[in-house]
Amino acid sequence: MSMSNKTFIIVRREYLERVKKKSFIITTILMPVLMLVLMCLPGLLMNVNISEARSIGVVDNSGVIAGGLQDNELAKYTRVDIAPDSMYSREDYDGFVIINSDILTNPSGVTLYTRDAGSMELERSLSENIANIIENERLKQLEKTDVKEVLESVRADVSMSTFRLTDGEASSGTSSIISYAIGIVMSVLLYMFLLMYGQMVMTSIIEEKNNRVLELVVTSVKPTQIMLGKIMGVGLVAVTQLALWTVIMLVLSASIIPLFFSPEIAAEVAAYNTGALDPAASSISIEGVQALSVIGNPWYIAGIFGYLFLFLVGGFLLYSAMYAAIGSSVDNIQDGSQLQSFVIIPLILGFIVSTTIAANPISSLATWLSIIPFTSPMVMMTRIPFGIPTWEIILSLVVLYLSFLGVVWFAAKVYRVGIFMHGKKPSLKQLIQWARYK
C-alpha cells in the first residue's frame, strides 16, 4: 500500500475520533453566538443598558433639587423626609442622597449612601443631574430665562460617517472602530485556535507516546507519516469547526439578526448601506448602525472568513509542527513547558502586538510582523479589516506556508527519534542533535 493511503488512514482516525466528541459539538454551536455578541458589543454598548434602575430616596434640605431630579435607567428618585439615623432600616430604598440646605452656594454639599456597591455611572449621572438643576436655578436667579435656549441653540453633536477611497471611488466603508473590533475578534480567534489546536496535537502525541500506542503504530507506518497524519487530522477538525462557524454566522447574520432590528433601525441600516442615512436623524449612534450593517452583510463576513481560513490553516500547520516536535520529545506536559515557551512566546507576542496594531495598522512594525510567519496570522488578520494591499497579504501567506515546510521537516526529524526517548527531559540543543541522526 502506498504511503499516502496509510497517512489517510491515520488522518481519518484522528479526525473521526475528535469530531464525534460531545465537547466538540457543543463548542461548535455555542461559539458563533458568543462571537456575534463580541462583534456587536462596541457599537451597541452605548445604546444598551444592562443595570436595573435603583430606587433612591432624596432627603432634600434645600427644597430646590428633589423636584428637578429626572428618573433614568440608573435610578428612580423619590423625595423622602426621614432622619439620617433611620436610613439604615428603610430597606425599601436602595440608597439615599442627602442634599444640604446651602446647595446652591455650595455644590459639594451632596452625600450619597447606597446599600450595595456604588456604581460610577450612577454617581456620574446623579452629579450631572444635580449640576444641571443648580445651573438652571442659578440662571433663574440671574433672571435671564432665555439663556438656556441660547445655550441649547449653540450646542453641537459631531459624529462621522467614514468612507474608504478605493480605486478612485468612494465605497461605503467601515469606520475605524468597526475595523478595530473585527480585527481584534479575528486576532483573538486565531490566537485561540492556534493555541488550542496546537496544544491538542502536542498533548495527544504525549499521550500516545506514554501509553505506547506509538510503538505499535510505527510497526506499520513511518513516524513522519504518523506525525503528518496527526497534524492533518487535527487541522481538519479545526477547519471543520471554522467552516461550521462561518455557516452558522452567515445564517445568523443573514436571517436572524435582522429580525431583532426594530423596523426603524432596519430602515436606518438600509439607508446607511445606500449612503442615504442622515446621521442626525438616526435613533442610535452612527457606530451602532455601522456595526449592524457589517454584521448584516454576509459577503463582508464571507470575505473576512476566507482570509481567516488561509491564515488559520497556515498558522496551524506551522505551530502544530512545532508542538508535535515538543510533544514527541517529552514524557509529560510539565516537562514540555520549557520547550513550549519557544512556541507560546511568539504566539502571545503576535496577539498582544495585534491589539496595539489595530490602533495603527499601517506602521512599519505592523507591516513587518505581518510578514514574519510566527506572528503573521494574528497581526495580518488584525490589519485586513482596515483594507491593506493584496500583495502584502499574498506575500505574508507565501512566507507562512514556506516556513511551515521548513519547520515540519525539522519536526519530523525530531519526532522519529523523540517518540522512543523516555525519561530525560531534553533541551533544544538535544532536539537539534536528534534532527541530525540518520
Partner: protein
C-alpha cells in the same frame, strides 16, 4: 538453507553511545530464531531497523534476498515489548484501524478479525472501549493485530511477559501453529527456558556487538566443552583432588539419595576413558551422562567473558 533476513555489518550510533557496532546475522527461512541479550544491548534498535522504523548509519538489511524496502513491513508482523492501544477507541474499530495500516481492506480486515475473535472467544469485546479491558485482554488484541495480515516474518519482543501461564501457553501454541504454516519467527527475550524449548538458532547481542551466533544444540555442545555428570557413591574428596591436580574444573553436590553428583569438564587433553577410570578407581559410579549447559548458563558465561575481555581491552 535460504535466509529470509540478512543483517550485514549494521551499525547505529546515537549521541554518547553506540547501539549497534558492525552487527551481522542471518535468519533462515522457516526457523524459530532467538535474539538474546541483556537490557540495553541493542536488540530493540536492531528490530527497529529490521522494521524500517529507523535507518542504520551503515550496513544493510536484506529481506528475501533484496534490500529491505518500505513495503516489506507488510510482510513482517512485529509485537513490541512496550505496547499500548488507544484507550477511548472501541476494540473492533481499533483492530480494523491497525489491520488497515498493514494494508488490508476494511472488509478483509473485519472478516479476518471476526475469525480470530471467535477463536479466542472474545467476540463480545468488539464494541467495548479498550479502557474497559484488562491488561491481558489488551495483549490478546495486540497479538491478533500483529499476526492478522499473515506475515512471513513474525517478531515478538518479550511476548510472554505479563501473561498468566494459561494465556502464555495459548499464545505459544498460536505462534507455533503460525510457524507450522510457514512463518519465520524471531523471539527477542530474556526468558532462556523458552529459548531452549522453542528456538532453533540464536544470536546473543551484548554491548552493541554480536558475541555469539548459531544453532542452539551446536552451541550447547560447543560451549559445553565435553562436560560430564557422574553420580557416585562414597568419598568424593580423593576424586576432587586428583581431578583438580589435572587442571580440570569440577563441581560437587550432594543429591537427595545421599549420593554425590560431580560435574567435570574434561576439555581436549583428557579422554573420556581416562576420566571414567579415574572416577571409577576412587568411588562407585552409579550413572554418568553428558551434561550440556543450559542457555541461561551460556548466556551468563558468555556475557561475563565478553565484558571482562572488553574491560581489559579498555
Amino acid at each position: 538453507m535460504e535466509n529470509i533476513l540478512e543483517v550485514q555489518n549494521v551499525s547505529k550510533h546515537y549521541t554518547g553511545h553506540t547501539a549497534l557496532d558492525n552487527v551481522s546475522l542471518s535468519i533462515p527461512k522457516g526457523s524459530i530464531y532467538g535474539l538474546l541479550g541483556p537490557n540495553g544491548a541493542g536488540k530493540t534498535t536492531l528490530i527497529r531497523i529490521i522494521n524500517h522504523i529507523t535507518a542504520p548509519d551503515s550496513g544493510r538489511v536484506l529481506f528475501e534476498g533484496h534490500q529491505l524496502v518500505e513495503n516489506d513491513v507488510e510482510s513482517i508482523g512485529y509485537l513490541p515489548e512496550e505496547r499500548g492501544l488507544y484507550k477511548k477507541m472501541k476494540v473492533g474499530d481499533q483492530a480494523v484501524f491497525f489491520a488497515m495500516l498493514k494494508g488490508l481492506s476494511r472488509k478483509e480486515a473485519t472478516s479476518r478479525l471476526k475469525e480470530w475473535f471467535e477463536k479466542f472467544g472474545i467476540l463480545d469485546w468488539w464494541n467495548k472501549k479498550v479502557e474497559e479491558l484488562s491488561k491481558g485482554m489488551a495483549q490478546k488484541i495486540q497479538f491478533i493485530v500483529t499476526v492478522l495480515h499473515k506475515p512471513k516474518l513474525l517478531i515478538f519482543d518479550e511476548p510472554f511477559s505479563g501473561f498468566d501461564p494459561i494465556n502464555a501457553n495459548l499464545l505459544k501454541e498460536e505462534i507455533l501453529s503460525l510457524h507450522r504454516e510457514g512463518a519465520t519467527v524471531i523471539f527477542s527475550t530474556h526468558n532462556m527456558a523458552s529459548v531452549e524449548a522453542l528456538c532453533d538458532e540464536i544470536t546473543l547481542i551484548n554491548n552493541s556487538h554480536n558475541i555469539l551466533t548459531g544453532n542452539v544444540n551446536e552451541i550447547r555442545h560447543r560451549i559445553g566443552g565435553n562436560r560430564t555428570a557422574f553420580v557416585v557413591e562414597g568419598e568424593t574428596g580423593p576424586i576432587e583432588s586428583e581431578i583438580k591436580q589435572m587442571g580440570l574444573p569440577v563441581t560437587i553436590e550432594t543429591i537427595d539419595s545421599g549420593d554425590h553428583r560431580l560435574l567435570i569438564k574434561r576439555g581436549d587433553s583428557v579422554t573420556m576413558r581416562q576420566l571414567i577410570e579415574i572416577v571409577n578407581s576412587k568411588a562407585i559410579i552409579k550413572s554418568l551422562e553428558p551434561a550440556l549447559p543450559s542457555m541461561e548458563e551460556i548466556f551468563i558465561e558468555t556475557v561475563n567473558q565478553f565484558n571482562t575481555i572488553s574491560h581489559v581491552n579498555e
